[in-house]
């Protein structure tokens, strides 16, 4: 087991990777207008966190992080369910999933 660990890439790589993924997610949220894609980008952000947690967990030899990932996955699922439900409702009322349409409330 010991060799396996030494052969693995340094932890920072995971950190950079997940940060990168997270940033992609953020950029996606910022740049895209379609609500579904934004939802997916948020999912991407959550998953990058999962990756980060798992890597931290693995490197520290502490399973807490991996348990946490399960929580995140469950919550993310709930979140997406609610989000999509709301989106359906909006689509039914407005006929669009473009978030720019949602600007009735302002000021």
């Amino acid at each position: 087991m010991k060799e396996v660990i030494t052969n693995t890439p340094p932890q920072n790589w995971y950190l950079v990777l997940s940060t990168l993924l997270f940033s992609i997610g953020v950029m996606g949220v910022l740049l895209r207008r379609n609500a579904i894609i934004i939802l997916m980008c948020i999912e991407l952000m959550l998953n990058s966190v999962n990756l980060l947690l798992v890597s931290f967990s693995a490197y520290a030899g502490n399973t807490d992080g991996q348990v946490f990932v399960f929580f995140i996955m469950v919550v993310a699922a709930a979140e997406v369910a609610v989000g999509l439900a709301l989106l359906v409702s909006i689509y039914r009322n407005l006929g669009s999933t473009d978030i720019d349409v949602l600007s009735k409330l302002k000021g």
Partner: protein
């Protein structure tokens, strides 16, 4: 300090002297309706009571003793306490007698004069109140109490000038009198502050005591005396604050006689005589007082020539005579000034009451151009009026002769002053006889209706005339010139009051007997020549003053009182009014309020602008949040 002896048993009576008129005022104010008929009589009797008490005090006190006691502490702070107290000394005794005596006569006169007025009772209430305040003024033992009376008589003057309050011109005159007096009062007040600050008190004993230990001409004394003199200018109608007095003739004639001739306006002279030590120690102020007096005397006399309203003439003559008195004070002849106050009180009251009687007979007409030939209709009035006129002109042996002569004698060492005062009294004689001739001689110039109405006044009016006429003849003998080898009772009586001043000023320039006789002769000659000129003008030539439109040139200036009122209006009144509007509209509403409102507007504007950030666009929101997040991370790094 001299030792004051306290004749305790006189405290009661002396308190009653001012309280009786106050009682009268209260009674008449609150029970005026019930006392419609008796009220005026009660008021008059109360004043008579005061007079009797004054005589009693006078006789028991003499000029040796003073009555000086504090009633209660009025104001106090820290270790300063200002008491409310009463002082009766020769000076106040004389004023007491004059005020209550003449006051009573004028009350009596008013019963007849005001009988038909609907404010009959109210009038007496005011008169009583006036007597109260005037008595307070002369009886106080401190400048503060004097100030109470000082302002109080101003109030009564306001009330009585504007007695016929439905007439707005009268109201204006009343307001003017009050405000002009207030200007003087500010001077008085500041003078009191200086006294309190530097001399350690306001009662005469303290002030005069600590002043006499100061060196002559000390700046602080000059300042105090000058400020007090400003007060006197207001009250006694001296240049430049004299313009209210002629206007004050709007009041009923008895008021003009009592307040605006005999008593209130002499308060300034009383005040200076009362503080003679201060003034003697401030020669500079005395100089000013003298010149203001001389200027006023002459100036008012000149204006008097061209007045056609019988009361206006008397008013300017009052201003002129007051100027004469101030000139006397300025010369250091305090007792002479005071002597003239007394004689003037008698003959000027007489003249005013006589004028009142004339107006009464004419049914309210005051313009001399519409009178004439009244001698035969109202004989008694005419005779007493003649006595008054002779007295004011300074003809021997009438009262005015003695007092005026004393002043001129005192002025003799100061040649210019003497010349100017002589001219002034000559003019006085002229316009007084102009008045007399125009009113009582030649033919009647009024309407038929007025002619029909002419009648002699009731006894309540003529009795005071007669009594006053007696005094106008006799009062002069109280102060016989030394040349007549008779005791000068008046000077002797007042001697304790001016004792200290005498030593400060040094022995005055004594005029020897031959010069004195010469001066008398000159004065009499001047007066008589004026009378002759007046006679020539108004009886021989029967000329009557032209109507106002015809007056031209210098005469027009004179008859319009040198446009002084207009000048004040332009220079002071109008600018203050404009300033008031500027302050209100520009400074208050525009500048100050703008700051307040602008800051509110700024806040609101920022709020409205910030609202634009809240676009409603989720993408934008998230974008801002991310940026802010970055900023937070940066801040965290920096720290």
């Amino acid at each position: 300090m001299e030792q004051f002896i306290q004749p305790i048993n006189l405290i009661g009576p002396s308190l009653l002297v001012p309280l009786l008129p106050l009682l009268g005022f209260i009674l008449l104010t609150f029970f005026g309706k019930q006392l419609k008929t008796f009220g005026p009589w009660i008021a008059s009797l109360l004043v008579l009571g005061s007079f009797v008490l004054s005589v009693y005090i006078f006789s028991s006190l003499g000029n040796e003793n003073n009555l000086d006691y504090d009633l209660f502490t009025w104001l106090r702070w820290g270790d300063v306490s200002l008491n409310f107290g009463i002082l009766i000394d020769p000076l106040s005794l004389i004023m007491l007698l004059v005020v209550t005596g003449i006051g009573f006569l004028i009350h009596l006169y008013s019963i007849g004069y005001m009988h038909h007025d609907e404010g009959f009772v109210r009038f007496f209430a005011y008169l009583n109140l006036f007597i109260f305040f005037m008595l307070l003024l002369v009886m106080g033992n401190s400048y503060l109490v004097m100030f109470i009376g000082w302002e109080g008589v101003g109030l009564c003057s306001y009330l009585l000038i504007g007695f016929w309050f439905t007439n707005d011109a009268y109201n204006d005159a009343a307001k003017k009198a009050f405000i002009m007096n207030r200007i003087g009062d500010l001077g008085f007040l500041l003078g009191m502050f200086l006294m309190l600050f530097y001399l350690g008190g306001l009662d005469y004993a303290t002030v005069l005591g600590s002043a006499s230990s100061m060196e002559k001409g000390a700046p602080i004394l000059v300042a105090i005396t000058l400020l007090m003199f400003v007060g006197a200018m207001g009250k006694s109608a001296q240049i430049p604050l004299y313009t209210w007095l002629p206007d004050a003739m709007a009041g009923p004639t008895p008021v003009s006689a009592l307040i605006h001739a005999a008593t209130m306006v002499t308060a300034g002279i009383y005040m200076i005589v009362r503080s003679n030590i201060l003034y003697s120690l401030a020669p500079f102020t005395l100089e000013i007082v003298m010149w203001v007096g001389v200027a006023t005397s002459l100036f008012a006399a000149i204006i008097g020539i061209k007045q056609n309203d019988i009361k206006k003439v008397l008013a300017y003559s009052t201003v002129s005579q007051l100027g004469l008195m101030f000139a006397a004070l300025g010369l250091g002849a305090y007792t002479s000034g005071m002597f003239h106050v007394v004689t003037h009180a008698f003959f000027k009251a007489l003249l005013f009451l006589g004028a009142g009687s004339v107006i009464h007979a004419m049914g309210g007409e005051q313009d001399m151009r519409r009178m004439g030939g009244l001698w035969k209709y109202i004989r008694l009035t005419a005779i007493t009026f003649l006595i008054g006129t002779l007295a004011i002109s300074g003809i021997f042996p009438f009262a005015g002769f003695f007092s005026k002569d004393e002043i001129l004698a005192a002025a003799f060492h100061h040649k210019i002053v003497w010349v100017l005062l002589s001219v002034s009294s000559m003019i006085t004689a002229f316009y007084m006889f102009r008045l007399f001739f125009l009113t009582f001689f030649t033919t009647f110039r009024g309407t038929e209706e007025e002619k029909h109405h002419l009648h002699e006044s009731p006894w309540t009016m003529t009795l005071p005339l007669a009594v006053l006429a007696l005094f106008a003849i006799g009062a002069g003998f109280l102060g016989m010139p030394s040349v007549m080898h008779m005791p000068h009772w008046f000077n002797g009586f007042l001697a304790p009051v001016v004792e200290t001043s005498k030593t400060i000023l040094g022995e005055s320039h004594h005029v020897d007997h031959s010069t004195e006789i010469m001066l008398m002769l000159v004065a009499t000659a001047l007066a008589i020549s004026s009378i002759v000129i007046a006679y020539v003008f108004y009886i021989s030539k029967k000329s009557i003053p032209e109507s106002d439109e015809e007056t031209k040139g210098f005469a027009k200036w004179v008859s319009n009182k040198f446009y002084i009122d207009e000048l004040y209006d332009r220079v002071i009144v109008k600018p203050v009014m404009v300033l008031s509007d500027i302050f209100h509209v520009v400074v208050d509403k525009l500048i100050i309020d703008l700051f307040v409102n602008a800051s509110a507007w700024m806040v609101g504007f920022t709020g409205r602008t910030l609202r634009l950030v809240q676009t409603g666009n989720t993408g934008f929101y998230i974008f801002v949040m991310v940026i802010a997040m970055m900023v937070l991370l940066l801040i965290q790094l920096v720290q």
